[in-house]
Symmetry: C3
Protein backbone atom coordinates (compact mmCIF):
# COMPACT_ATOMS: atom_id res chain seq x y z
CA UNK A 1 0.00 0.00 0.00
CA UNK A 2 1.18 3.50 -0.84
CA UNK A 3 1.62 5.98 1.97
CA UNK A 4 -1.02 8.63 1.20
CA UNK A 5 -1.07 11.59 3.61
CA UNK A 6 -4.04 13.90 4.07
CA UNK A 7 -3.34 17.59 4.50
CA UNK A 8 -3.72 18.96 8.00
CA UNK A 9 -5.28 22.04 6.51
CA UNK A 10 -8.96 21.95 5.66
CA UNK A 11 -10.63 24.96 4.12
CA UNK A 12 -14.28 24.84 5.14
CA UNK A 13 -17.00 27.35 4.31
CA UNK A 14 -20.74 27.14 4.87
CA UNK A 15 -23.74 29.23 3.85
CA UNK A 16 -26.40 29.66 1.20
CA UNK A 17 -25.22 28.27 -2.13
CA UNK A 18 -24.75 30.60 -5.09
CA UNK A 19 -24.95 29.32 -8.67
CA UNK A 20 -23.67 31.73 -11.29
CA UNK A 21 -23.78 30.68 -14.93
CA UNK A 22 -21.85 32.61 -17.58
CA UNK A 23 -20.49 31.82 -21.02
CA UNK A 24 -17.40 32.59 -23.06
CA UNK A 25 -17.42 33.17 -26.82
CA UNK A 26 -14.53 33.03 -29.30
CA UNK A 27 -13.61 32.12 -32.88
CA UNK A 28 -11.75 28.95 -33.76
CA UNK A 29 -10.05 27.83 -36.95
CA UNK A 30 -10.91 24.11 -36.64
CA UNK A 31 -8.64 21.06 -37.06
CA UNK A 32 -7.83 20.70 -33.35
CA UNK A 33 -7.34 24.44 -32.88
CA UNK A 34 -6.64 24.91 -29.16
CA UNK A 35 -7.76 27.92 -27.13
CA UNK A 36 -6.45 28.76 -23.66
CA UNK A 37 -9.45 30.05 -21.67
CA UNK A 38 -7.83 30.07 -18.21
CA UNK A 39 -7.55 33.85 -17.79
CA UNK A 40 -11.17 34.33 -18.89
CA UNK A 41 -12.47 31.70 -16.46
CA UNK A 42 -10.39 33.34 -13.71
CA UNK A 43 -11.89 36.77 -14.47
CA UNK A 44 -15.42 35.40 -14.34
CA UNK A 45 -14.62 33.74 -11.01
CA UNK A 46 -13.42 37.08 -9.64
CA UNK A 47 -16.61 38.77 -10.85
CA UNK A 48 -18.68 36.03 -9.17
CA UNK A 49 -17.50 37.05 -5.71
CA UNK A 50 -17.43 33.39 -4.65
CA UNK A 51 -14.84 32.22 -2.14
CA UNK A 52 -14.93 28.41 -2.33
CA UNK A 53 -16.63 25.93 -4.60
CA UNK A 54 -16.17 24.51 -8.08
CA UNK A 55 -16.21 25.76 -11.67
CA UNK A 56 -17.93 23.49 -14.19
CA UNK A 57 -16.76 24.24 -17.70
CA UNK A 58 -18.86 22.65 -20.42
CA UNK A 59 -18.93 22.57 -24.23
CA UNK A 60 -22.55 22.66 -25.46
CA UNK A 61 -21.83 20.90 -28.74
CA UNK A 62 -20.59 17.65 -30.25
CA UNK A 63 -17.39 18.74 -32.02
CA UNK A 64 -15.48 20.46 -29.22
CA UNK A 65 -13.90 19.24 -25.99
CA UNK A 66 -12.02 20.37 -22.89
CA UNK A 67 -8.91 19.38 -20.98
CA UNK A 68 -5.94 20.99 -19.23
CA UNK A 69 -2.45 21.30 -20.73
CA UNK A 70 0.79 23.15 -20.25
CA UNK A 71 -0.08 25.62 -22.98
CA UNK A 72 3.31 26.10 -24.63
CA UNK A 73 3.64 25.77 -28.44
CA UNK A 74 5.35 22.38 -28.26
CA UNK A 75 2.68 20.66 -26.13
CA UNK A 76 -0.07 22.30 -28.21
CA UNK A 77 1.45 20.90 -31.42
CA UNK A 78 2.04 17.48 -29.82
CA UNK A 79 -1.55 17.28 -28.58
CA UNK A 80 -2.97 18.14 -32.02
CA UNK A 81 -0.70 15.53 -33.60
CA UNK A 82 -1.93 12.88 -31.13
CA UNK A 83 -5.44 13.11 -32.56
CA UNK A 84 -4.17 13.02 -36.14
CA UNK A 85 -2.56 9.74 -35.20
CA UNK A 86 -5.28 8.17 -33.01
CA UNK A 87 -8.35 9.39 -34.91
CA UNK A 88 -7.21 10.38 -38.42
CA UNK A 89 -9.46 12.53 -40.59
CA UNK A 90 -8.59 10.16 -43.43
CA UNK A 91 -10.23 7.08 -41.86
CA UNK A 92 -13.64 6.03 -43.14
CA UNK A 93 -16.48 7.30 -40.96
CA UNK A 94 -20.10 6.21 -41.31
CA UNK A 95 -21.12 9.72 -40.27
CA UNK A 96 -19.60 11.05 -43.50
CA UNK A 97 -21.75 8.76 -45.68
CA UNK A 98 -24.93 10.55 -44.60
CA UNK A 99 -23.61 13.97 -43.56
CA UNK A 100 -21.93 16.16 -46.19
CA UNK A 101 -19.87 18.12 -43.65
CA UNK A 102 -17.36 15.24 -43.54
CA UNK A 103 -16.45 15.83 -39.90
CA UNK A 104 -16.92 12.28 -38.63
CA UNK A 105 -13.47 12.37 -37.05
CA UNK A 106 -14.43 15.54 -35.12
CA UNK A 107 -17.39 13.78 -33.49
CA UNK A 108 -15.34 10.75 -32.48
CA UNK A 109 -12.44 12.84 -31.15
CA UNK A 110 -14.78 15.01 -29.07
CA UNK A 111 -16.50 11.97 -27.59
CA UNK A 112 -13.12 10.52 -26.61
CA UNK A 113 -11.82 13.67 -24.90
CA UNK A 114 -15.14 14.72 -23.34
CA UNK A 115 -17.15 17.96 -22.97
CA UNK A 116 -16.85 18.70 -19.25
CA UNK A 117 -14.18 19.77 -16.81
CA UNK A 118 -14.61 20.60 -13.12
CA UNK A 119 -12.01 22.76 -11.35
CA UNK A 120 -12.27 23.47 -7.60
CA UNK A 121 -11.46 26.93 -6.25
CA UNK A 122 -10.51 28.19 -2.79
CA UNK A 123 -10.13 31.80 -1.55
CA UNK A 124 -11.46 32.92 -4.92
CA UNK A 125 -8.64 31.27 -6.89
CA UNK A 126 -8.80 28.22 -9.22
CA UNK A 127 -6.78 25.27 -7.86
CA UNK A 128 -4.69 24.92 -11.04
CA UNK A 129 -1.03 23.96 -11.20
CA UNK A 130 1.47 26.66 -12.16
CA UNK A 131 1.83 25.39 -15.74
CA UNK A 132 -1.69 24.03 -16.16
CA UNK A 133 -4.15 25.83 -18.43
CA UNK A 134 -7.82 25.15 -19.22
CA UNK A 135 -7.82 24.29 -22.92
CA UNK A 136 -10.72 24.18 -25.35
CA UNK A 137 -10.16 22.02 -28.43
CA UNK A 138 -12.12 22.70 -31.60
CA UNK A 139 -12.15 19.39 -33.45
CA UNK A 140 -14.41 20.56 -36.28
CA UNK A 141 -12.95 20.76 -39.78
CA UNK A 142 -13.81 24.42 -40.37
CA UNK A 143 -13.76 27.80 -38.58
CA UNK A 144 -16.48 28.15 -35.94
CA UNK A 145 -17.90 30.62 -33.48
CA UNK A 146 -17.77 28.79 -30.16
CA UNK A 147 -19.53 29.11 -26.83
CA UNK A 148 -18.37 27.50 -23.60
CA UNK A 149 -20.56 27.45 -20.47
CA UNK A 150 -18.82 28.40 -17.21
CA UNK A 151 -20.82 27.71 -14.07
CA UNK A 152 -19.61 28.54 -10.57
CA UNK A 153 -21.25 26.92 -7.56
CA UNK A 154 -20.17 27.70 -4.02
CA UNK A 155 -20.22 30.10 -1.11
CA UNK A 156 -19.60 33.88 -1.26
CA UNK A 157 -16.89 35.69 0.66
CA UNK B 1 -3.80 35.86 -27.61
CA UNK B 2 -7.26 34.85 -28.71
CA UNK B 3 -10.09 37.31 -28.23
CA UNK B 4 -12.34 35.58 -25.67
CA UNK B 5 -15.53 37.47 -24.80
CA UNK B 6 -17.53 36.91 -21.64
CA UNK B 7 -21.30 36.94 -21.93
CA UNK B 8 -23.04 40.03 -20.60
CA UNK B 9 -25.73 37.79 -19.23
CA UNK B 10 -25.14 36.11 -15.90
CA UNK B 11 -27.77 33.83 -14.43
CA UNK B 12 -27.36 33.96 -10.66
CA UNK B 13 -29.45 32.18 -8.05
CA UNK B 14 -28.90 31.87 -4.31
CA UNK B 15 -30.51 29.90 -1.51
CA UNK B 16 -30.34 26.65 0.43
CA UNK B 17 -28.70 23.92 -1.64
CA UNK B 18 -30.72 20.88 -2.65
CA UNK B 19 -29.01 17.55 -3.44
CA UNK B 20 -31.22 14.98 -5.14
CA UNK B 21 -29.75 11.61 -6.03
CA UNK B 22 -31.55 9.25 -8.40
CA UNK B 23 -30.53 6.37 -10.63
CA UNK B 24 -31.38 5.02 -14.06
CA UNK B 25 -31.52 1.33 -14.94
CA UNK B 26 -31.39 -0.36 -18.34
CA UNK B 27 -30.18 -3.45 -20.18
CA UNK B 28 -27.12 -3.42 -22.42
CA UNK B 29 -25.85 -5.94 -24.95
CA UNK B 30 -22.11 -5.30 -24.32
CA UNK B 31 -19.29 -4.76 -26.85
CA UNK B 32 -19.47 -0.94 -26.75
CA UNK B 33 -23.25 -0.90 -26.83
CA UNK B 34 -24.23 2.78 -26.55
CA UNK B 35 -27.33 4.03 -24.73
CA UNK B 36 -28.71 7.56 -25.07
CA UNK B 37 -29.89 8.59 -21.58
CA UNK B 38 -30.48 12.30 -22.29
CA UNK B 39 -34.28 12.23 -22.16
CA UNK B 40 -34.25 10.26 -18.90
CA UNK B 41 -31.80 12.65 -17.24
CA UNK B 42 -33.97 15.57 -18.45
CA UNK B 43 -37.10 14.00 -16.93
CA UNK B 44 -35.37 13.49 -13.59
CA UNK B 45 -34.22 17.11 -13.67
CA UNK B 46 -37.80 18.25 -14.23
CA UNK B 47 -38.98 16.09 -11.32
CA UNK B 48 -36.26 17.60 -9.11
CA UNK B 49 -37.79 21.06 -9.32
CA UNK B 50 -34.32 22.61 -9.39
CA UNK B 51 -33.73 25.81 -11.36
CA UNK B 52 -29.95 26.12 -11.61
CA UNK B 53 -27.05 23.89 -10.74
CA UNK B 54 -25.28 20.86 -12.13
CA UNK B 55 -26.09 17.22 -12.89
CA UNK B 56 -23.37 14.72 -12.02
CA UNK B 57 -23.83 11.50 -13.97
CA UNK B 58 -21.71 8.62 -12.73
CA UNK B 59 -21.17 4.95 -13.62
CA UNK B 60 -20.73 2.90 -10.41
CA UNK B 61 -18.68 0.16 -12.06
CA UNK B 62 -15.44 -0.54 -13.89
CA UNK B 63 -16.66 -1.65 -17.33
CA UNK B 64 -18.90 1.25 -18.37
CA UNK B 65 -18.23 4.91 -19.17
CA UNK B 66 -19.92 8.17 -20.14
CA UNK B 67 -19.50 10.89 -22.75
CA UNK B 68 -21.61 13.04 -25.06
CA UNK B 69 -22.12 12.37 -28.78
CA UNK B 70 -24.35 13.35 -31.65
CA UNK B 71 -26.39 10.16 -31.29
CA UNK B 72 -27.01 9.31 -34.94
CA UNK B 73 -26.27 5.77 -36.22
CA UNK B 74 -23.14 6.85 -38.10
CA UNK B 75 -21.40 8.47 -35.12
CA UNK B 76 -22.48 5.61 -32.86
CA UNK B 77 -20.89 3.08 -35.22
CA UNK B 78 -17.77 5.23 -35.65
CA UNK B 79 -17.32 5.61 -31.89
CA UNK B 80 -17.61 1.85 -31.32
CA UNK B 81 -15.10 1.21 -34.09
CA UNK B 82 -12.65 3.68 -32.51
CA UNK B 83 -12.33 1.44 -29.45
CA UNK B 84 -11.95 -1.69 -31.56
CA UNK B 85 -8.99 0.05 -33.14
CA UNK B 86 -7.41 1.73 -30.08
CA UNK B 87 -8.08 -1.00 -27.49
CA UNK B 88 -8.76 -4.24 -29.39
CA UNK B 89 -10.39 -7.15 -27.59
CA UNK B 90 -7.82 -9.35 -29.31
CA UNK B 91 -4.77 -7.80 -27.58
CA UNK B 92 -3.21 -9.68 -24.68
CA UNK B 93 -4.42 -8.44 -21.30
CA UNK B 94 -2.90 -9.46 -17.97
CA UNK B 95 -6.38 -9.20 -16.46
CA UNK B 96 -7.48 -12.13 -18.63
CA UNK B 97 -4.74 -14.42 -17.27
CA UNK B 98 -6.28 -14.36 -13.79
CA UNK B 99 -9.93 -13.54 -14.54
CA UNK B 100 -11.95 -15.98 -16.63
CA UNK B 101 -14.41 -13.32 -17.85
CA UNK B 102 -11.86 -12.23 -20.49
CA UNK B 103 -12.98 -8.60 -20.40
CA UNK B 104 -9.57 -6.98 -19.91
CA UNK B 105 -10.21 -4.67 -22.86
CA UNK B 106 -13.47 -3.48 -21.21
CA UNK B 107 -11.59 -2.36 -18.08
CA UNK B 108 -8.94 -0.49 -20.04
CA UNK B 109 -11.48 1.19 -22.35
CA UNK B 110 -13.61 2.33 -19.40
CA UNK B 111 -10.60 3.77 -17.62
CA UNK B 112 -9.63 5.70 -20.75
CA UNK B 113 -13.08 7.23 -21.33
CA UNK B 114 -13.95 7.78 -17.66
CA UNK B 115 -16.96 7.22 -15.38
CA UNK B 116 -18.17 10.77 -14.70
CA UNK B 117 -19.79 13.60 -16.59
CA UNK B 118 -21.00 16.93 -15.19
CA UNK B 119 -23.62 18.92 -17.10
CA UNK B 120 -24.73 22.37 -15.87
CA UNK B 121 -28.40 23.39 -16.06
CA UNK B 122 -30.15 26.76 -16.03
CA UNK B 123 -33.88 27.54 -15.79
CA UNK B 124 -34.48 23.81 -15.26
CA UNK B 125 -32.90 22.82 -18.61
CA UNK B 126 -29.61 20.99 -19.26
CA UNK B 127 -27.06 23.18 -21.11
CA UNK B 128 -26.59 20.67 -23.94
CA UNK B 129 -26.01 21.49 -27.59
CA UNK B 130 -28.83 20.80 -30.02
CA UNK B 131 -27.20 17.61 -31.36
CA UNK B 132 -25.43 16.57 -28.16
CA UNK B 133 -26.66 13.55 -26.21
CA UNK B 134 -25.52 12.02 -22.92
CA UNK B 135 -24.22 8.59 -23.91
CA UNK B 136 -23.53 5.57 -21.72
CA UNK B 137 -21.10 3.06 -23.19
CA UNK B 138 -21.18 -0.56 -22.02
CA UNK B 139 -17.69 -1.87 -22.70
CA UNK B 140 -18.28 -5.28 -21.13
CA UNK B 141 -18.21 -8.34 -23.39
CA UNK B 142 -21.67 -9.63 -22.42
CA UNK B 143 -25.22 -8.36 -21.78
CA UNK B 144 -25.57 -6.53 -18.48
CA UNK B 145 -28.16 -4.83 -16.29
CA UNK B 146 -26.75 -1.35 -15.76
CA UNK B 147 -27.27 1.40 -13.19
CA UNK B 148 -26.19 4.99 -13.64
CA UNK B 149 -26.26 7.51 -10.75
CA UNK B 150 -27.77 10.91 -11.56
CA UNK B 151 -27.25 13.55 -8.88
CA UNK B 152 -28.59 17.09 -9.12
CA UNK B 153 -27.17 19.83 -6.93
CA UNK B 154 -28.46 23.38 -7.02
CA UNK B 155 -31.19 25.81 -6.08
CA UNK B 156 -34.94 25.30 -6.42
CA UNK B 157 -37.24 27.54 -8.41
CA UNK C 1 -35.52 3.42 -28.09
CA UNK C 2 -34.03 1.67 -25.08
CA UNK C 3 -36.21 1.12 -22.04
CA UNK C 4 -34.58 3.29 -19.37
CA UNK C 5 -36.20 3.12 -15.93
CA UNK C 6 -35.80 5.76 -13.25
CA UNK C 7 -35.39 4.60 -9.66
CA UNK C 8 -38.41 5.05 -7.44
CA UNK C 9 -36.08 6.03 -4.66
CA UNK C 10 -34.87 9.61 -4.55
CA UNK C 11 -32.50 10.71 -1.82
CA UNK C 12 -33.10 14.41 -1.26
CA UNK C 13 -31.42 16.69 1.26
CA UNK C 14 -31.60 20.45 1.65
CA UNK C 15 -29.81 23.06 3.75
CA UNK C 16 -26.85 25.41 3.83
CA UNK C 17 -24.10 24.18 1.52
CA UNK C 18 -20.75 23.18 2.98
CA UNK C 19 -17.57 23.28 0.88
CA UNK C 20 -14.59 21.47 2.39
CA UNK C 21 -11.31 21.45 0.49
CA UNK C 22 -8.51 19.08 1.45
CA UNK C 23 -5.53 17.57 -0.30
CA UNK C 24 -3.71 14.25 -0.43
CA UNK C 25 0.07 13.91 -0.81
CA UNK C 26 2.11 10.89 -1.89
CA UNK C 27 5.25 9.84 -3.76
CA UNK C 28 5.15 8.38 -7.26
CA UNK C 29 7.79 6.61 -9.33
CA UNK C 30 6.69 8.01 -12.72
CA UNK C 31 6.14 6.16 -16.03
CA UNK C 32 2.39 5.69 -15.54
CA UNK C 33 2.76 4.72 -11.90
CA UNK C 34 -0.79 4.24 -10.59
CA UNK C 35 -1.92 5.09 -7.04
CA UNK C 36 -5.21 3.95 -5.54
CA UNK C 37 -6.50 6.88 -3.45
CA UNK C 38 -10.01 5.54 -2.77
CA UNK C 39 -9.56 4.78 0.94
CA UNK C 40 -7.99 8.18 1.56
CA UNK C 41 -10.82 10.02 -0.23
CA UNK C 42 -13.30 7.95 1.78
CA UNK C 43 -11.61 8.89 5.08
CA UNK C 44 -11.68 12.59 4.20
CA UNK C 45 -15.36 12.27 3.34
CA UNK C 46 -16.03 10.73 6.75
CA UNK C 47 -14.12 13.56 8.44
CA UNK C 48 -16.16 16.11 6.48
CA UNK C 49 -19.39 15.05 8.16
CA UNK C 50 -21.28 15.59 4.91
CA UNK C 51 -24.27 13.40 4.10
CA UNK C 52 -24.97 13.98 0.39
CA UNK C 53 -23.18 15.83 -2.36
CA UNK C 54 -20.20 15.32 -4.63
CA UNK C 55 -16.45 14.91 -4.32
CA UNK C 56 -14.36 16.74 -6.92
CA UNK C 57 -10.92 15.21 -7.19
CA UNK C 58 -8.44 17.30 -9.15
CA UNK C 59 -4.78 17.09 -10.17
CA UNK C 60 -3.18 20.55 -9.96
CA UNK C 61 -0.50 19.83 -12.55
CA UNK C 62 0.06 18.96 -16.20
CA UNK C 63 1.68 15.52 -15.96
CA UNK C 64 -0.84 13.58 -13.85
CA UNK C 65 -4.40 12.45 -14.41
CA UNK C 66 -7.34 10.67 -12.76
CA UNK C 67 -9.76 7.88 -13.61
CA UNK C 68 -11.38 4.86 -11.97
CA UNK C 69 -10.24 1.27 -12.46
CA UNK C 70 -10.62 -2.16 -10.94
CA UNK C 71 -7.30 -1.86 -9.12
CA UNK C 72 -5.96 -5.40 -9.48
CA UNK C 73 -2.39 -5.96 -10.79
CA UNK C 74 -3.58 -7.17 -14.21
CA UNK C 75 -5.73 -4.12 -15.03
CA UNK C 76 -3.04 -1.81 -13.64
CA UNK C 77 -0.43 -3.35 -15.96
CA UNK C 78 -2.86 -3.33 -18.91
CA UNK C 79 -3.71 0.34 -18.38
CA UNK C 80 -0.03 1.35 -18.24
CA UNK C 81 0.64 -0.64 -21.40
CA UNK C 82 -2.24 1.12 -23.19
CA UNK C 83 -0.43 4.44 -22.90
CA UNK C 84 2.88 2.94 -24.03
CA UNK C 85 1.03 1.87 -27.16
CA UNK C 86 -1.17 4.95 -27.80
CA UNK C 87 1.28 7.65 -26.72
CA UNK C 88 4.78 6.13 -26.79
CA UNK C 89 7.63 7.88 -24.98
CA UNK C 90 9.72 7.13 -28.08
CA UNK C 91 7.66 9.31 -30.47
CA UNK C 92 9.01 12.73 -31.40
CA UNK C 93 7.51 15.52 -29.29
CA UNK C 94 7.98 19.22 -30.01
CA UNK C 95 7.92 19.82 -26.25
CA UNK C 96 11.18 17.89 -25.96
CA UNK C 97 12.98 20.17 -28.44
CA UNK C 98 12.71 23.12 -26.09
CA UNK C 99 12.38 21.43 -22.70
CA UNK C 100 15.25 19.27 -21.44
CA UNK C 101 13.03 17.18 -19.16
CA UNK C 102 11.98 15.08 -22.21
CA UNK C 103 8.50 14.39 -20.83
CA UNK C 104 6.47 15.43 -23.88
CA UNK C 105 4.60 12.13 -23.79
CA UNK C 106 3.59 12.80 -20.15
CA UNK C 107 1.92 16.08 -21.11
CA UNK C 108 0.01 14.56 -24.01
CA UNK C 109 -1.10 11.51 -22.00
CA UNK C 110 -2.33 13.67 -19.12
CA UNK C 111 -4.31 15.90 -21.47
CA UNK C 112 -5.94 12.84 -23.04
CA UNK C 113 -7.00 11.26 -19.72
CA UNK C 114 -7.89 14.51 -17.94
CA UNK C 115 -7.27 16.06 -14.51
CA UNK C 116 -10.71 15.95 -12.90
CA UNK C 117 -13.12 13.36 -11.57
CA UNK C 118 -16.44 13.95 -9.82
CA UNK C 119 -17.91 11.21 -7.61
CA UNK C 120 -21.33 11.65 -5.97
CA UNK C 121 -21.91 10.48 -2.40
CA UNK C 122 -25.06 9.62 -0.45
CA UNK C 123 -25.44 8.85 3.28
CA UNK C 124 -21.78 9.75 3.69
CA UNK C 125 -20.57 7.03 1.28
CA UNK C 126 -19.04 7.45 -2.20
CA UNK C 127 -21.25 5.96 -4.95
CA UNK C 128 -18.50 3.70 -6.30
CA UNK C 129 -18.97 0.22 -7.71
CA UNK C 130 -17.69 -2.69 -5.65
CA UNK C 131 -14.57 -3.15 -7.80
CA UNK C 132 -14.09 0.47 -8.78
CA UNK C 133 -11.21 2.47 -7.34
CA UNK C 134 -10.19 6.14 -7.75
CA UNK C 135 -6.84 5.97 -9.50
CA UNK C 136 -4.20 8.67 -9.87
CA UNK C 137 -1.80 8.17 -12.77
CA UNK C 138 1.64 9.79 -12.67
CA UNK C 139 2.64 10.13 -16.31
CA UNK C 140 5.89 11.98 -15.62
CA UNK C 141 9.17 10.25 -16.48
CA UNK C 142 10.69 10.54 -13.00
CA UNK C 143 9.76 10.14 -9.33
CA UNK C 144 7.59 12.99 -8.01
CA UNK C 145 5.95 14.24 -4.83
CA UNK C 146 2.29 14.61 -5.80
CA UNK C 147 -0.66 16.55 -4.46
CA UNK C 148 -4.29 15.89 -5.34
CA UNK C 149 -7.08 18.29 -4.37
CA UNK C 150 -10.18 16.68 -2.84
CA UNK C 151 -13.17 19.01 -2.49
CA UNK C 152 -16.48 17.97 -0.97
CA UNK C 153 -19.59 20.04 -1.60
CA UNK C 154 -22.94 19.14 -0.09
CA UNK C 155 -25.18 19.06 2.94
CA UNK C 156 -24.22 17.94 6.46
CA UNK C 157 -25.93 15.15 8.36
Amino acid sequence: MRNVQASERATAVEGPVKVITRSLGFSTSGDADLVNITASVGSLLEESGLAAGSATIFVPGATGALTTLEFEPGVVADFRRLFDRLVPATEEYDHNKTHPDLNGHAHVRSGLLGPSLVVPFVDGVLCLGKWQEISFVCFDNRPRERTVIVQFMGVAQ
